[in-house]
């Protein structure tokens, strides 16, 4: 044998045997999450009156849908090897744009949208570019960009935050609304479209494949002639856009905008992706995130029904992130780096 350097240890290193094999299976299908989801649902149905009823299911689904929509961008950025903490900021900015700014600048909903869409993409793209070009933690850049974007949107609107969504938008988001006569709220239909769209995009387009390649092994991707910089710019641009549009949808659902509107969605987007089992740099996909979002929503709803406070929720998110990373995301030993 003429190997002169030891093979690099796998990303998940640890004792071999049952644990590693279970982890390996778990990496292919989110069995654990689906099982937990079913368990949580059953617990809810049996312990909370009315939980299993159609009204309740629809509203749980709608909450999950909102969390899910907020997690689209997060999924992509985590697949490519980063994080996006600007979700909160872009959600607020999106919501504010179509309500307050639209009013104050008298450009109406669609006028605001015309500014919002390219604006979000450009700002997100800048983050992706700086991050890739100068090897800066995207986490920090997105944190800063989130703050920045809230600032420049709130600037023209001043201190008071009192946006009202256009009526037709709010009507679309009500739980009892209908889509083309079917008793399904448009938000859910939108979510299903996004789920299908993302599945096709990630698995069946060249662009989606390039995202996976860039995340899996940026060096190899570069050798394989993937323009990794362009991928980063696009991914962060799309993520910012999705967050902004989620803000628009959110405003429809809740009717008004407040500056802290986005924060819970930041936490839940991170948690949904991580719980779903998408690892930094892949593997993973949006469908997993959907399972993660559903699981978190159902579990949270059940726990809230049993007295869980928002404080407890925060703790839960933190612990869940740590556990998921301990399963999926460990680094190499120092002795292997000498």
């Amino acid at each position: 044998m003429n190997a002169s350097s030891p093979p690099q240890p796998l990303r998940v290193s640890g004792p071999s045997g049952v644990w590693t094999r279970s982890v390996a299976l778990q990496k292919r299908i989110p069995l654990l999450q689906i099982a937990l989801l079913i368990i949580a649902f059953v617990v809810g149905v049996t312990t909370l009156p009315g939980f299993g009823g159609p009204q309740s299911i629809v509203s749980v689904l709608m909450i999950a849908a909102l969390a899910g929509l907020a997690s689209v961008g997060q999924t992509l950025t985590i697949l490519v090897g980063g994080f996006d903490l600007s979700v909160a900021g872009f959600i607020v900015a999106g919501g504010l744009m179509v309500t307050q700014v639209a009013d104050v600048l008298a450009i109406g909903f669609w006028g605001a949208l015309v500014i919002l869409v390219p604006g979000a993409m450009i700002l997100g793209g800048v983050v992706g570019y700086l991050s890739h070009r100068f090897a800066i933690q995207p986490l920090i850049l997105t944190l800063a960009m989130g703050s920045f974007v809230v600032g420049i949107v709130r600037g023209p609107t001043g201190q008071s935050v009192s946006g009202q969504a256009p009526e037709w938008l709010t009507a679309m988001a009500a739980p009892i609304s209908k889509t083309f006569g079917l008793p399904i709220p448009p938000i859910l239909v939108l979510w299903v479209i996004v789920i299908v769209g993302m599945a096709i995009f990630l698995r069946r387009t060249v662009g989606g494949r390039r995202i996976y390649l860039t995340g899996a092994n940026p060096t190899a991707a570069s050798y394989a002639l993937v323009n990794t910089r362009r991928v980063w710019v696009l991914v962060f641009g799309i993520s910012a856009l999705c967050s902004a549009l989620t803000g628009v949808v959110l405003v429809a659902y809740s009717g008004n905008v407040d500056p802290n509107l986005g924060n819970p969605y930041l936490f839940s987007s991170l948690a949904a992706v991580i719980v779903g089992g998408t690892v930094g740099g892949g593997p993973g996909d949006y469908t997993r995130t959907v399972v993660g979002a559903l699981l978190l929503t159902v579990v949270t709803t059940v726990l809230v029904g049993h007295g869980l406070t928002s404080a407890d929720q925060q703790i839960m998110y933190g612990v869940v992130i740590l556990i998921a990373m301990a399963i999926y995301g460990r680094e190499r030993r120092i002795s292997d780096r000498v």
Partner: protein, 318 residues
């Protein structure tokens, strides 16, 4: 090649940029607002300075080291001080070392998880960020009020003959200075610059990294008490306020996010620059709502510049 004299000075004293910026901003401030109000400005500045200095050690330790949980930990220590130590009769000056110990314990926990599980610091401290925020909300569902007679208020006023804020700011500086008398700081910079080298030379890399997070936590504890002394309340919802600003201060102060460079002085001057920016903006009637945009832009700019500078440095490493 950055070997010209100004470039070398910049590298050796990485905080020079922030210092220069601060001086300029100070002049601008005084020009715009002749009644500067030194005392109250210093008092407002102190918590920011401390939280920025608390963020420095973990970043200097390298390998993506950063502690996002510093903000929430600071608030936790404030809450514990006001809501639990004071009512239990421990609200005197002995509370300071106690909460610093608490902060240090959480920092140590962060460090241990990072080392043992071999996880990225940014992820671990992010998880801890959420956990501590949740704990804060549980411990203090509504803001806790500090007793006006508490000694802590003197930190925002006068401590004997000295201005309180100067005493507060000197706490981390003194500790850091003492550490400089030992081998620890040398070890920290070695680990931050190239941990594989430090490892092969016999440095206990794990211990150094854990201690870096511990020290940051200790400073965060002090920051919590100082904050409470200023605003007289311990409010769980302020957990997130300082996080972004702390990172911006550190980046601006020349502490490379890659590790191994800069010092807490950089955190101090970076915080000063940011504070003065805010002050200037306040004077110019710019609405508060623009502040997040300024912070965000400042952070992006300073992190980018910092990365460019340290990249030049690393590139010559061959």
């Amino acid at each position: 090649m950055m070997t010209s004299v100004p470039a070398r000075i910049l590298r050796k004293h990485t905080f020079i940029f922030a210092l220069g910026l601060s001086v300029v901003l100070l002049l601008v401030n005084v020009l715009i607002q002749p009644t500067f109000g030194w005392a109250s400005q210093l008092a407002s500045f102190a918590p920011l300075a401390l939280v920025a200095m608390a963020s420095a050690p973990s970043i200097i330790s390298g390998r993506g080291g950063i502690d996002i949980s510093i903000g929430p930990v600071m608030t936790l220590c404030a809450i514990v001080f006001v809501g639990y130590l004071a009512p239990a009769g421990l609200g005197g000056i002995e509370a300071l070392p106690l909460v610093m110990l608490l902060g240090g314990a959480i920092g140590t926990l962060n460090g241990l998880i990072i080392i043992w599980l071999r996880l990225a610091p940014i992820v671990v401290t992010l998880g801890m960020y959420f956990i501590v925020i949740g704990i804060n909300l549980k411990l203090a569902p509504s803001p806790l009020r500090l007793d006006d007679t508490s000694w802590a208020t003197s930190l925002a006023g006068m401590v004997g003959p000295l201005p309180g804020p100067l005493v507060s700011i000197s706490i981390p500086l003194v500790i850091w200075g003492l550490l400089g008398l030992t081998a620890f700081r040398r070890n920290l910079y070695a680990v931050g610059g190239n941990d594989a080298t430090a490892f092969t030379a016999g440095v206990n890399v794990s211990a150094v990294r854990v201690l870096a997070f511990a020290i940051g936590g200790v400073f965060a504890g002090a920051a919590g008490v100082v904050l409470v002394g200023l605003v007289r309340t311990a409010d769980a919802s302020s957990s997130t306020a300082y996080t972004l600003v702390a990172i911006a201060a550190v980046a601006l102060g020349g502490i490379s996010l890659a590790g191994g460079a800069g010092g807490i002085i950089g955190g101090l001057f970076g915080a000063l620059a940011i504070f003065l920016v805010q002050s200037v903006l306040a004077d110019t009637d710019l609405p508060q709502t623009w502040l997040p945009a300024v912070y965000g832009a400042l952070l992006i700019a300073s992190v980018t510049v910092g990365a460019i500078v340290s990249r030049d440095h690393t590139r010559r490493k061959q």
